[in-house]
């Protein structure tokens, strides 16, 4: 399977995205595209603005300026407003002026088919593994409060449970089904978080440092795992990662950020040898 990027197949498109907190520009005029079925890795030294970029895509932050498209549809758009009008130091200040502000909450983004995991694992602490996954099914409910309370949605409920069981099986979490999510070993918690994201039936999966804190063995397993779920669920994956082995192995393309700016993009081999990337990593703190 080749994952050459084609314009028509673009799943996610970031356009002139800028995020400014007070006087600090965290993400500076970043544009990138993720093609269908592709794995795009976002890398860069600590503080480069990777997670901020994720947060803008998933609706946690509204960008200060710029737009985001999902499958050709504009899902996020903003222009500097209020106090930010004066403070804004980024580029393209007037590009989106006067256009409609689109700032959906994270749940709306998830409903579109974009799911994510978190850098610091955020599982539902007091819930079991199974319940963690079941919760993700809530989003696609057709029942309302009344029908749900009086169990008039028994069919749907049964289906939710069955789908969750299915997912547990695929993700090889069956054996820990009824354990508290937080009692799992670290690697399993990562798995569970991905499983939970998959339970929302996404087309685009955003992974925020999925291998953080893992040993080489676990990382290797994760690499295979990500490859496998991409095929099995027909996913497009947009990933932040520091483990270069993983990144180089699995990515179709790599996008590099440094101090909020895009400095390189290309296939793993191209990026590996890009002098600006090397400088950024040597100048900053290098992982590995």
């Amino acid at each position: 399977m080749s994952h050459e990027k084609k314009e028509t197949d673009t799943v996610l498109k970031l356009e002139n995205l800028t995020m400014q907190f007070g006087g600090v520009i965290a993400v500076d005029n970043v544009s990138l595209e993720v093609g269908k079925g592709e794995i795009l890795s976002l890398i860069g030294p600590n503080g480069a603005g990777k997670t901020t970029a994720f947060n803008m895509v998933t609706g946690v932050y509204a960008p200060t300026n710029g737009a985001i498209y999902y499958k050709g549809e504009k899902i996020v758009q903003n222009t500097p407003q209020g106090r930010m009008k004066k403070l804004y130091q980024g580029e393209n200040a007037d590009l989106y002026a006067g256009k409609r502000v689109i700032a959906p909450t994270p749940d709306k983004i998830t409903k579109l088919g974009i799911a994510r995991t978190f850098q610091n694992i955020r599982l539902f602490k007091s819930q079991t593994v199974f319940e963690n996954i079941l919760i993700a099914k809530h989003m696609r409910r057709t029942s309302n409060l009344f029908t749900a309370t009086f169990r008039l949605n028994a069919k749907e409920e049964a289906q939710m449970r069955q789908e969750s069981e299915e997912l547990l099986r695929i993700m090889e979490l069956e054996d820990v089904r009824d354990e508290l999510a937080t009692s799992l070993p670290y690697g399993k918690q990562r798995h569970l978080e991905i499983a939970r994201a998959l339970a929302t039936k996404p087309e685009l999966l955003l992974l925020d440092e999925p291998a953080a804190g893992m040993n080489p063995q676990e990382t290797l397993e994760l690499t295979q795992f990500i490859g496998r779920i991409r095929g099995e669920f027909g996913l497009t994956i947009f990933m932040i990662e520091h483990h270069m082995d993983l990144v180089m192995e699995i990515s179709d393309r790599i996008h590099v950020l440094d101090f909020g700016k895009s400095i390189a993009e290309g296939k793993p081999d191209e990026v590996r040898n890009d002098p600006r990337v090397i400088e950024a990593y040597l100048g900053g703190a290098q992982d590995e």
Partner: protein
Amino acid sequence: MDFVTRNLPYLMAGISVGGQYALIAIGYTMVYGILRLINFAHGDIFMAAGLILVYSATVMPMYIAIPLMIILTVLIGFIVERVAYKPLRSAPRMSIMISAIGVSYLLQNLALYVTGGLSQQYPAIPWISDTVTIFGSTTKRVTVITPVLTLVLVVLLVLLIKYTKIGMAMRAASRDFETSQLMGIKINSVVSMTFIIGTFLAAIGSALFFTNYTGVTPTVGAMPGLKAFVAAVFGGIGSIPGAVIGAFIIGICENIIKGVGLTTFSDAFTFALLIIILIIKPTGLFGEKEADKV
């Protein structure tokens, strides 16, 4: 009667009660700043201070009774922190708040038991409870003294926090509790000191408050306590100048509301003001924004 004589008493009452709220509010705001705890018992410690003076003044002269009252009150504050809050430091925030409610309940019921449920007449403190005339309106001297004393104490407190070592430790702890612990700050003594300062000011506040409003009952601390807390939230909890300004605004507003005849709403207005400010500026007038990190 001219305009000034007619309306000055409202303003004076407002400023005076505002100063008393301020002294209580500082305790709330400092404790919240460091422990993120709404110390519901603070108002009752204020009440306990009143009762202590009531009883001590019957057996000893005022110049001994007042310092004794302050020492005992501070001691209560210290003990409450050590017994009821310190063991819960790692517990969820809700537990500590419940503990605070429990302490408040305990103090009120103890007071009920000790006083037999009767309102106790607060002794007249010489000089400050004398009657004076200002611009044609009569009032107690304490009305005039309160705002002045409050401001002096606040300035002293701000200096203490700014320039002493313990003050620096307090600021560090309120910025980041865990990190400051790692940096070698003795967090227990900082917290204790915070409670000591808070209760010290509440003790002074109680002497001023009860000199004006002379009945001490077990629940007398509840309303001023709640209002002082509202003042602290209003000004931006964690901020001392915020608490003081909030307290004066609330004290004055509540007396103006009474002055225009909407007496039923004098308490409710305070809360309405609070809700409005929280909606417009969720962290209060001078509060700092806290963002959840994702």
